[in-house]
């Protein structure tokens, strides 16, 4: 007995250390601790920091952090009987470790359970909406958010009650069409593009024709206006000239007559095709025929 005596303080210290280690425990920000007594859950510690428990009870740690779960994309039927491939994600975390440990136990199993709940409520929700409510070319028509809020609420209530899981969010990550529909979609896209291309070209042609026609019209307008003005100016010139002539001639009408007649002769008999038959009796030839007397 005596020879074991020197081990007593060490043993006591070890025992004390063991007791302390089993009494104090720290809870990190990322964890919940479930205190169990011989496997039976007693209470949950959610507050991080240093805590005390009875040494005969043990602590189980649960990750309380937000997790993202991506279920496999699956096909859903809308109310108007159209297929949509929806890929969603679920943001969840453990909310009630007691229920969680009793029903599912670990995150992988939890995600399998979540998948079932989400799939069924999403299928139900999509089934009450037309495709146009999920996919439409104007933001006002799309009501995806309302639908998802509903799904989130529903799954959150169910998951919390059944598995101690809080579903923070269910969101659609990707919308797509089933593979077998895609070829026809591509064909439709091509047709649509071709239509648009034709429209662009035709519209260009239309505009170009309009511009050319307008240019031609302006040209005609400019030229005809100029013609009108030019003729007016010429008319002024002619009128003025006529006035000047008549002014001058009316003062000497007899002389004008003579002069103008003579000038006209010059022009009328200007070429050698003319044959003039002159009477010897004419004033011009009188002198030639009758001699100097005739000039008197």
């Amino acid at each position: 007995m005596e020879r074991y005596k020197k081990y007593v303080p060490a043993a006591l210290a070890a025992l004390l250390a063991l007791l302390l280690a089993r009494t104090f425990f720290s809870v990190r920000e990322t964890e919940f601790v479930l205190v169990t007594q011989f496997g039976k859950p007693v209470y949950t510690v959610t507050e991080p920091g240093l805590h005390v428990k009875w040494f005969f009870r043990s602590a189980t740690y649960f990750d309380r952090r937000l997790r993202i779960y991506n279920p496999r994309p699956s096909e859903f039927l809308t109310r108007d009987k159209k297929n949509l491939v929806i890929e969603c994600y679920v943001a969840w975390q453990i909310a009630d470790p007691k229920t969680f440990v009793q029903t599912v136990g670990d995150p992988v199993a939890a995600e399998m359970r979540l998948h079932d709940i989400i799939w069924s409520s999403l299928a139900a929700a999509v089934g009450t909406h037309d495709m146009d409510a999920l996919i439409a070319p104007s933001p006002q028509a799309v009501r995806t958010q309302d639908m998802l809020d509903e799904v989130t609420q529903l799954t959150d209530a169910r998951a919390l009650e059944r598995y101690g899981i809080r579903v923070a969010d269910v969101r659609i990550k990707r919308l797509n069409l089933p593979e077998q529909n895609k070829q026809s979609v591509y064909a439709r896209m091509r047709a649509e593009r071709e239509r648009i291309a034709r429209r662009y070209r035709a519209e260009g042609e239309e505009q170009a024709l309009k511009i050319r026609a307008d240019a031609d019209r302006q040209k005609q307008e400019i030229l005809s206006a100029a013609y009108k003005q030019a003729e007016e100016i010429k008319g002024q010139g002619d009128a003025e000239a006529t006035r000047i002539y008549s002014n001058a001639y009316s003062r000497n009408p007899a002389f004008y007559k003579l002069l103008r007649t003579l000038e006209a002769y010059k022009k009328i008999f200007g070429d050698d095709k003319t044959t003039a038959i002159l009477s010897s009796d004419s004033e011009l030839l009188k002198v030639m025929m009758e001699g100097e007397r005739a000039a008197r």
């Binding site: 937000l66 896209m189 662009y200 100016i233 001058a248 000497n252 002389f255 010059k266």
Partner: protein, 341 residues
């Protein structure tokens, strides 16, 4: 540790004294230093342990201090600080400003190699067109404590939130808007909306940018999309040509109009000047004519005859004879003989 440190000094004097009485050879069997100065050693160790709580946060970082797992300092700015030593408090430093990248719709190497996996990069637009998109998200740490402790996988959560918003925004717009005009608007909307989701999750992330790196029609319809761009260019070209025509025709017409007017003006001036000249000449001659009517009249007559008659054929006939018109032919120039009889 500190408990045992305090316990030692109690036992130490009983061991030390016998040695002190003997000390015959100071060099022989000197006890180790922790036996000779246990208090000092313990004190030094305690001090060292306490000093291990001193830490430095570099300029580009921030730190979070937890005590037994609970956050006591959610944000420690750069500088020198002291915390309770290990294992009471723990200091985690974070590079808060460093931007972290993640890619939605394929990874970087896919982009470089031009590969696209339809299932990863395909999005459905509001008018039910399929397009391929690759989006680069950049984020930094907003709240260090939240960033460290709230999410199991921060980048996964950020990626999911951004992708969900992106799908939502693409699904409520037409393909043309997504590919061209509203790209910037989508980026900004997605960033703002995803930030809201992230804030709701409380994971302490600040989205710096959401950038649509590429948005393309599927290869199955790419040529049709290119043709639309071609058609747009064609239309612009045709319109430009028409403008060119207009720009050619109208100035020419204006020039032509100017020419017509100038000609008309010249004509007017010429006519008036000619008239003035003619009138002046006439008036002057008329004045002289008035002075000597008989003589001037005769002179003018004769001058005119002089001018006319040399150029034409002349037949002079007697006033009393009958005129035989055949002489006109006979009088024809000898070079041209009469054609018949």
């Amino acid at each position: 540790m500190s408990l045992t440190g305090v316990a030692k000094p109690g036992t130490h004097p009983e061991h030390e004294h016998p040695h002190a009485h003997e000390h015959p050879h100071p060099h022989e069997r000197r006890p180790p230093i922790w036996r000779r100065h246990p208090r000092r050693i313990a004190g030094a160790l305690l001090l060292l342990w306490l000093l291990s709580g001193v830490y430095i946060v570099p300029a580009d970082q921030q730190a979070v201090v937890t005590r037994f797992g609970k956050v006591v300092e959610p944000r420690v700015m750069p500088g020198i600080h002291i915390a309770w030593p290990w294992p009471l408090e723990r200091v985690t430093k974070l590079k808060v400003q460093q931007l972290q990248r993640l890619i939605i719709g394929g990874d970087i190497s896919d982009g470089i190699l031009g590969r696209t996996d339809p299932r990863i990069s395909q999005f459905l637009t509001g008018d039910q067109n399929l397009i391929h998109m690759r989006v680069v998200v950049q984020y930094s740490v907003g709240e260090p404590a939240q960033y460290l402790f709230r999410a199991e996988n921060v980048s996964k959560a950020v990626g999911a939130a951004v992708e969900a918003e992106l799908a939502h925004r693409v699904a409520n717009r037409g393909v043309d808007a997504v590919l061209t005009t509203e790209k910037a608007a989508i980026q900004e909307e997605v960033r703002a909306a995803a930030q809201k989701i992230i804030d709701a999750y409380g994971i302490g992330v600040l989205l710096a940018s959401v950038n649509i790196e590429s948005a393309q029609p599927p290869p199955e319809a790419a040529d049709a999309f290119r043709d639309v761009a071609g058609a747009r260019a064609d239309a612009a070209r045709i319109v430009n040509e028409a403008h060119g025509y207009a720009n050619d025709v109208i100035p020419r017409a204006r020039g032509e109009a100017q020419r017509l007017l100038a000609e008309a003006e010249a004509y007017r001036r010429r006519k008036i000047n000619e008239a003035l000249g003619d009138a002046s000449r006439f008036s002057q001659v008329a004045r002289e004519y008035q002075r000597a009517r008989q003589i001037t009249g005769r002179r003018l007559y004769l001058e005119t005859m002089e001018k006319i008659l040399p150029r034409i054929r002349k037949l002079v006939v007697d006033k009393s004879g009958n005129l035989d018109l055949t002489i006109i032919r006979k009088g024809a120039p000898p070079a041209k003989p009469p054609p018949k009889q």
